[in-house]
């Protein structure tokens, strides 16, 4: 533990009359250490036919939380493996019952899929609430009080308008979703406030789309030129065959690269926009992810994971988390020690476990 964490706890906060103080987010996870946790997690999960997965999940999450520090203080994750295991068993039972019933009758199958459609926003909300409630920093818990009906409304209205406008309304829905999930969060009794408007997101998605279209255009253009050149130098038939081989070996990686670039641009843009628009009491954030750097990390991660047949996954996770942390700074106008608690009831892990089972990615 750094020295500054043990002394001066009750002294005046660093940010006094001189202005706000800045706290970088430090990630101290190490690839080698996490590799051992990861491989043991996997092995025990498989040997115990999945039962250990609840422990694995908690250990993985605790590792990332506990190694993320602000002002020397780590985040903590309090989810209990036994509770999560119970939730998972219930989830499996519900899904199994659903699939058996839908095999028996067509009407039941339709009913079940409608129920699942409604359950989706409920699951997401339960899952966010469970994670939030089980996260703490400096001895104070986070909480989430969003209602699933509001989430459902965003999904229905936003989803329909996205379909009707052929995707043009998607950033609008995304902004609503982000506002929904952040604005219902609180740290202790201090509510989060996210001032993010759809216009910012339109800018980000537009940039991503231009990049993707531009990239595809270049690929098509280059391949047409290559095709013409090959046909004129080798004759139509042979040129055609060579061209096909060239497209297979070069075109496919190029498409992957374009996808990856799009992903990097959108992720960097969304992450920066969200953090920079967030306020938690006297704390603001500054996120400076760069799409180019992110693309490089994604690309080398994918390459490393591919070459090592997956063994580099822990290294890749640690690396990208470290970069995200490096780019994030807290700007505090008061003191980090001045937040106070709010008592909230416990949240059942069933919702989260079902969401986890169906592999919903909730990236908070």
């Amino acid at each position: 533990m750094p020295a500054d964490a043990t002394d001066g706890a009750l002294s005046a906060p660093p940010g006094t009359a001189a202005g706000p103080s800045r706290y970088p987010v430090i990630f101290t996870g190490q690839a080698g250490e996490y590799f051992r946790i990861w491989i043991v997690n996997l092995t025990l999960t498989i040997i115990t036919l999945g039962i250990y997965s609840a422990w694995a999940k908690v250990r993985r999450r605790r590792y990332f939380y506990g190694n993320t520090r602000i002002d020397g203080e780590p985040f903590e994750y309090h989810g209990q493996p036994r509770a999560i295991l119970k939730g998972r068993l219930i989830a499996v039972a519900i899904i199994a019952a659903g699939s058996v019933t839908s095999n028996v009758s067509q009407i039941a199958a339709v009913l079940i899929s409608i129920l699942q459609g409604i359950a989706f926003p409920w699951l997401i909300v339960r899952s966010i609430a469970f994670n939030s409630r089980n996260s703490s920093h400096r001895g104070l818990r986070f909480s989430f009080n969003g209602r699933w009906t509001e989430q459902l409304k965003i999904f229905v209205v936003g989803g329909l308008s996205t379909i009707i406008t052929l995707g043009a309304a998607y950033p609008f829905m995304k902004a609503q979703l982000l506002r929904f999930s952040f604005n219902h969060h609180a740290y202790g009794r201090t509510a989060f406030s996210l001032n993010l408007n759809a216009r910012t997101l339109y800018g980000i998605y537009l940039k991503g789309a231009l990049l993707a279209f531009g990239g595809s255009f270049v690929i098509v253009l280059v391949s047409l030129l290559v095709k013409l050149a090959m046909q004129s130098s080798m004759g139509a038939m042979k040129g055609e065959a060579r061209f096909l081989a060239a497209v297979l070996t070069l075109g496919v990686p190029a498409i992957y690269l374009i996808l990856l670039s799009y992903f990097a641009v959108v992720t960097a843009g969304l992450t920066n926009a969200t953090w920079n628009a967030l306020e938690v009491g006297s704390v603001r954030f500054e996120s400076t992810l760069r799409a180019g750097r992110l693309l490089w990390i994604y690309f080398t991660n994918a390459l490393g994971v591919l070459v090592t047949l997956g063994l580099a996954i822990p290294w890749a996770s640690i690396r990208s988390t470290r970069y995200r942390a490096e780019c994030l700074t807290l700007i505090c106008h008061g003191s980090l020690a001045d937040f106070t608690a709010l008592s909230t009831p416990e949240v059942s892990p069933t919702g989260e476990a079902i969401a986890d089972l169906l592999d919903f990615d909730i990236g908070l």
């Binding site: 533990m1 964490a5 043990t6 002394d7 706890a9 009750l10 590799f35 051992r36 946790i37 990861w38 491989i39 043991v40 997690n41 996997l42 092995t43 025990l44 498989i46 040997i47 250990y52 422990w55 908690v58 250990r59 993985r60 605790r62 590792y63 506990g66 190694n67 780590p74 903590e76 493996p81 400096r138 001895g139 104070l140 038939m237 042979k238 065959a241 060579r242 096909l244 081989a245 297979l248 992957y256 990856l260 992903f263 994604y298 991660n301 994918a302 994971v305 591919l306 047949l309 997956g310 063994l311 996954i313 890749a316 996770s317 990208s320 003191s335 020690a337 001045d338 937040f339 608690a341």
Partner: protein
Amino acid sequence: MNRAPITVEFQARYFDGQRSGFQPVRVEICDGQVLITGETLHLQLDLAELTPDAPLGRLQRTLRMRSGGELCTDDHEVIERLFPHSQPIDRFAQKIERRWGYALAALVLLGFAIWWALSVGVPLAARPLAAMVPEGMQNSLGEQTLDAIDTMTCKPSGLTPRRTDEVKEVLKRTVHGLPDETRFQLALRNCPGLGANAFALPGGMILVTDDLANLAQSDEQLLAVLAHEVGHVVARHGLRGLIQTSLGAVLMGTVLGDATAITGLAYALPTFLLQNGYTRAMETEADTFAFERMKAVGVSTEYFAQIMTLLMQAHEAKSAKSPAATPAQDASETTSTDTTASPHDEAPHSDSNSHSGKVIDYFSNHPATEERIRRAREYH
């Protein structure tokens, strides 16, 4: 109360759970009593009121109080001494996670478990699952595949009506006496891109290229190929391949669970290799079925060996004609079995092929053609 000697003493940070500030404190524990002293704090409680978190890596240890307060310390040793029996599962995991030797042993074990699951478990599970798919669904899958083949690679057959009827007769002879023999239908197509080839589609449709019908020197040779395809149909190999690939993907997805979507590339390769392993096993199974069927209808398996030799020569000649096209085409044929309905490609990928095709041949669908010929000759 008598003052017992101090048994344990350590430094910690105390969070009261009400404010985000902390105080450095000294914790003394003696005789089950905990004494916490800080600058403005003096707390006394029972040791039973403290719950330790599970040990994990180099992370600090936290003792939680019933009141909601927390004591955080980096003194791992003290916590271990105070709570030697808490969190047995995590403690066990921690013990393994700390040593590279154990981690490597876990890696070996994991590799073995995955290998077993993919090579034995998945095919074992796929068989009953494939049997559960309703007939109607299987048929529509087959029709979709045929539509796709028709629009993409093949033209209507150019065979004479007489030859068409002859091939149909051979199919009838092949399936004679099998249960539900009317479901086996013949689809003749002119597919120059595929060469002399036959495919079994889910449901019972068997696609035969004009080139194959012309290549066969006798009805018996044709019967050998058709019997092999009927073997695929009867054992529902198309469906089984599909189910095995999905199961394998689910399994690998679970294993590589905390990777992002981008790393999905990582299991494309093993899945690809496995798919080809699965296909090899099915080819052998279909061959065995063909030998039995030929015996049942009174045709020597020697004809199987003959048509295999002819096919091998035909494909060698074809690749010799356009060496540049071979790798790309071989690759596309091999990957075509990765996709939805997996038609079974009958082309033997000759092992003595051009140098460039060698790597692909290693992963090719069929057991080495010579091996198949040998099996046919030795079958009694």
